[in-house]
Amino acid sequence: MSSTTTATASKMWGGGKSPFNVEYGKLMMWYFLMSDAFTFGAFLISYGTIRFSTNGWPDPNEVFRSYPFASEGVHAPLVFVSIMTFILIISSVTMVLAVKAGHEMDKKGVVRNLILTILGGLAFLSCQAWEWNHLFHEGAWWGRNPFINHDGTASSTNFTNFFFTITGFHGFHVFSGVIINIVMLTMTLMDKFEKRGHYLMIEKAGLYWHFVDLVWVFVFTCFYLI
């Protein structure tokens, strides 16, 4: 794999140092995320497989059409989920800023942006909780599907099964991301990173957080759009 033809390449791969010039923790985080991508990938591909092997499927615009504080018969597809998507994108941006502040050894910047990221994560989780609760009260749950297919026929429960399983698994990742960020925030406030001389831990937490955002891009597309 590593053709050591060019001089620079052989210097990087010659041993005694990291060939990618990154510390082992970051490398492990990247490969962990690769692994996790296969977990989510397997979920979404299973969802696709079942959808392809089923004759009818509900119209997401008929299912996800409400938002909080709206009156009963409201019909506003995609509105609420777009808000959720933007919350997650913005929290990803604040996370980037936190990592950047970390590189500049700017403790204040790290703290501020981490707090914003945590708030973004909590906001997303609240939205998800509301949506789940709403769907539950409409009669949807694992093994229960009140929605009907595009063509007006009864729908397989796998629509809700996959929806709750995959968004639940993603929500679990968001939740653990929030926990990780809270730990990072505490460590920053305790000056752990200042003493260590670098904020590389924040970078790794950041990678995880962006991955959560990345997964949402796929979940959002697969469940709400197509």
């Binding site: 590593s2 390449a9 990087m12 060939p19 990618f20 010039n21 990154v22 990247w30 690769m34 991508a37 591909i45 696709g48 497989t49 959808r51 392809f52 092997s53 089923t54 004759n55 009818g56 615009n61 597809p77 995609l78 777009s82 933007f86 994108i89 990803s92 941006v93 996370m95 980037v96 800023l97 950047k100 590189h103 500049e104 409409e138 009669g139 093994g143 229960r144 599907n145 009140p146 929605f147 009907i148 595009h150 063509d151 007006g152 026929t153 009864a154 729908s155 397989s156 429960t157 001389g197 670098h198 962006h210 955002d213 990345l214 891009v217 796929f218 597309t221 709400y224 759009l225 197509i226």
Partner: protein, 151 residues
């Protein structure tokens, strides 16, 4: 320490630019989503829109991984170790979906006893009520004689 200098790029300007791109891409996706609602089912235009949305999704993924996760600024070899294994998804997706589709086709064509919920019409506005009796219902139906032909 030398670390921060090694990572070129990733300035505030770049972050703002990428944020903007992601926002625009999402808005286009949403617009397409709204537009798609008016299209007839199983139509080419609907399929084309779906494919466009998937392409946009991949573009968003590229920007998140490349810039937010900083992969674009890593050493080329490291980028390869991440990107190349992802190519496994191509066959992973192709084979799974192809077989899923084939499974539906085989059941519809060759299994005279196969009967799916999708053959049962539900009164449109009754959606909510139908839900309650749901759990028990398919069982009863399967017990009943199956005569509805497919297609």
């Amino acid at each position: 320490m030398a670390h921060s200098e090694e990572h070129s790029g990733g300035g505030t300007k770049e972050i703002l630019r990428v944020t903007l791109i992601l926002t625009v891409l999402t808005i286009i996706e949403l617009a397409l989503g709204f537009w798609m609602m008016g299209m007839p089912l199983e139509s080419t235009s609907r399929l084309a829109t779906k494919i466009t949305i998937i392409v946009l999704m991949l573009a968003k993924a590229f920007y998140i991984v490349g810039y937010f996760m900083h992969l674009k600024h890593e050493i080329r070899n490291m980028i390869m170790t991440i990107v190349v294994p992802l190519a496994l998804f191509i066959w992973f997706i192709t084979a799974f979906l192809y077989d899923g589709n084939s499974f539906r086709h085989l059941r519809n064509t060759y299994d005279p006893h196969f009967k799916e919920q999708a053959t049962i019409k539900v009164e449109k506005k009754e959606g909510e009520h139908a839900a309650e009796g749901k759990e028990a219902r398919p069982a009863e139906e399967k017990g009943a004689a199956v005569e509805q032909p497919k297609h």
